[in-house]
Amino acid sequence: MRWRAVPLSAWIGMAGMALAVFCAVFAPWIAPFGEREVVGDIWLPMGGDYLLGTDNLGRDLLSRLIYGAQTTIFVALAATVLAFCMGVMLSFTAAVAGGWTDQGLSRVNDLMMSIPTLIFALIVLAVLPQELWILIAVIAVLESTRVFRIGRAVALDITVMEFVEAARLRGERRLWIIFREILPNTLSPLLAEFGLRFAFSVLFLSTLSFLGLGIQPPEADWGGIVKDNKDGIIFGIPAALIPGAAIAGLAICVNLVVDWLLNRTASLKGGRGDG
């Protein structure tokens, strides 16, 4: 890969993602104050000791934001990885096996996709207890329906190729065909999809937290910080906008990188590069 060929937008995207990941990994060392430490008056303006001011309980907003990066990125990443494991495995099985397996899995997937994601999550979360792993699992299952759809479409194109036929005639088992024949050839579209799904997970988790159904306080996460500080808006205090901007920034950065990845793979295949 030539580094010169990487466009500026992709560099910006990668830099932004690197910054967010850096904050997430080294949160306890770089945050100036503790996550739940009350340091001063409520909604202090920016500047001075508290770079971004304080929140609705007088906690340092910058520290909350850095710790929030940890929670948000960890949960979104875990959900995306889980969604990919489930989605890719099931979709490839459907594509390779065909017949009733394919029909059954695809129809169940259609049914899941016919209920809007947020509505589905709200219904399910109304019943399930509020725990972190349940939240991750719910997001993962909902995201995996989208992964399933694209995974099946991509895998179907490849299962009809000669080398898969050859592997079948050789008598290879289904798992071999999935992991050694199909997976390596679908990596680049799946990688782009992974980025998109991660961005969606961040937005989705933040939305749920904003509605009070995601990460529970006092744990910091970006959507939750917006919820905590939303009453300040009426008094003209922009504290709620800062974590909102962080969510938007991370999602934009991921999208910039994905955009470049998609363009790159499109030109590799000689497809329509201008689409």
């Binding site: 937008s9 695809s106 259609d110 049914l111 016919s114 209920i115 809007p116 994601t117 947020l118 509505i119 589905f120 709200l122 219904i123 399910v124 979360l125 109304a126 019943v127 399930l128 207890p129 961005a199 937005l203 933040s206 939305t207 904003f210 509605l211 009070g212 159904l213 959507g223 917006v226 939303k230 808006i233 009426i234 008094f235 003209g236 922009p238 709620a240 906008l241 909102g244 901007a245 969510i247 938007a248 999602a251 934009i252 991921v254 999208n255 910039l256 955009d259 329509r272 201008d274 689409g275």
Partner: protein, 370 residues
């Protein structure tokens, strides 16, 4: 929603009667009724003859039937799927220290001690008649509340759609017209940013600048009975603007992609080589073939609008369905959650179905599936 349908065997015929039931016969398919009379005798042959004579009507009936079936399946998921999940309302409601007797009492009071399947049919029977049961939290009728709020939500979504759809389609055409020049680049970058913005972020920015600092509009966008039409419109300016901004970018990008897809086909190249004016090519040659994908995009985004409404209503404290549902979820008021969930899903399915049907009407090639 472009999945391949299986061959329409006798199974579909049974559905036809169901499709005609709750939704009513679609316009222009008056012949369906006499055909339905002979169904009992030799369903498969009658259906195939009907299909041969009126392929379009048959296809539409099939779509309607499938949607009704899908809606039924969704209701099963919403009701029985929820039952299968761990978690007991009575236990959660009373807390960990509840005595078994108290838990049993509450379960009996809410009818939870009945078997789930019989409760499902009771619920479904009520839903068909417009009765969604009573809220667990307040004890009042869910249907009454929904009646008050559904109108508000549709009012908001309607205005957002009315503004965003024409704007998105014309911006998409503009982007294609100036392809790879600066207006296109600008639209591309701005829209890429815009699709990454969470709804609440856009909403609060608008509130901060237009309501708090500008003071041009009032912030809690409350509407109540007795408000005049103009006052209502004034109240929804900001929530409507938020929804438009959120949906616009997505819709526009997909419109652009759909038109570009058509623009790269040989007949457009021919038109270009003939020396026709670009705008004329877009309007007369490319657009008619791009209509079907654009309709799909628009319908998908309208469906998205219905969901986006949930967050926007919470941000603006707007008394609609979304706010009602979120409130119910936090107190685990299942009848309300199930009713709202079913209605949102129904609207979503309905929009997707109309997209499917409109796409078939717009593109004759889709009328004869191979």
């Amino acid at each position: 929603m472009t999945q391949q349908e299986g061959s329409p065997g006798p199974r579909i015929v049974d559905l036809e009667a169901m499709a005609a039931g709750p939704l009513g016969p679609p316009p222009g398919i008056g012949l369906a009724a006499p055909a339905a009379a002979g169904l009992a005798a030799r369903p498969a042959r009658t259906w195939s003859r009907f299909r041969h004579h009126m392929p379009l009507a048959a296809l539409l009936i099939q779509r309607l039937a499938l949607s009704v079936l899908l809606l039924l399946a969704v209701s099963v998921v919403i009701f029985l799927g929820i039952e299968a999940l761990p978690g007991d309302f009575a236990q959660t409601y009373l807390g960990q220290s509840a005595t078994p007797q108290a838990v049993a009492n509450i379960r009996q009071e809410l009818g939870l001690d009945q078997p789930a399947v019989s409760r499902y049919f009771e619920w479904l029977g009520g839903v068909v008649q417009g009765d969604f049961g009573n809220s667990w939290a307040s004890g009042s009728s869910v249907a009454n509340q929904i009646g008050l709020r559904l109108g508000n939500t549709l009012f908001l979504a309607f205005w957002a759609a009315l503004i965003s759809v024409p704007l998105a389609v014309s911006l998409g055409m503009l982007a294609v017209h100036f392809r790879n020049r600066w207006p296109d680049r600008l639209i591309n970058v701005v829209s890429l940013g815009a699709i990454s913005l969470p709804e609440f972020f856009v909403g609060y920015i608008l509130i901060l600048f237009f309501a708090v600092q500008g003071g041009w509009v009032t912030f809690p966008s409350t509407v109540y009975a007795g408000m005049s039409f103009g006052q209502r419109l004034e109240a929804i300016v900001l929530p409507c603007a938020t929804l438009v901004l959120v949906v616009l970018a997505h819709m526009m990008r997909m419109t652009r992609a759909a038109i570009l897809n058509v623009m790269s086909s040989p007949y457009v190249e021919t038109a270009e080589l003939k020396g026709l004016d670009t705008l004329r090519i877009i309007a007369r040659h490319a657009a008619p073939n791009a209509v079907a994908p654009i309709i799909t995009v628009v319908a998908l985004n309208l469906a998205y609008l219905v969901v986006g409404v949930v967050v926007v209503e919470v941000v603006f404290v707007y008394p609609g369905m979304g706010q009602y549902m979120v409130d119910a979820v936090t107190v685990r008021d299942l009848p309300v959650v199930q009713a709202c969930g079913l209605i949102f899903a129904a609207v979503y399915i309905l929009l997707n179905m109309s997209a499917d049907i409109l796409a078939i009407l717009a593109n004759p090639r889709l009328r004869h599936p191979r």
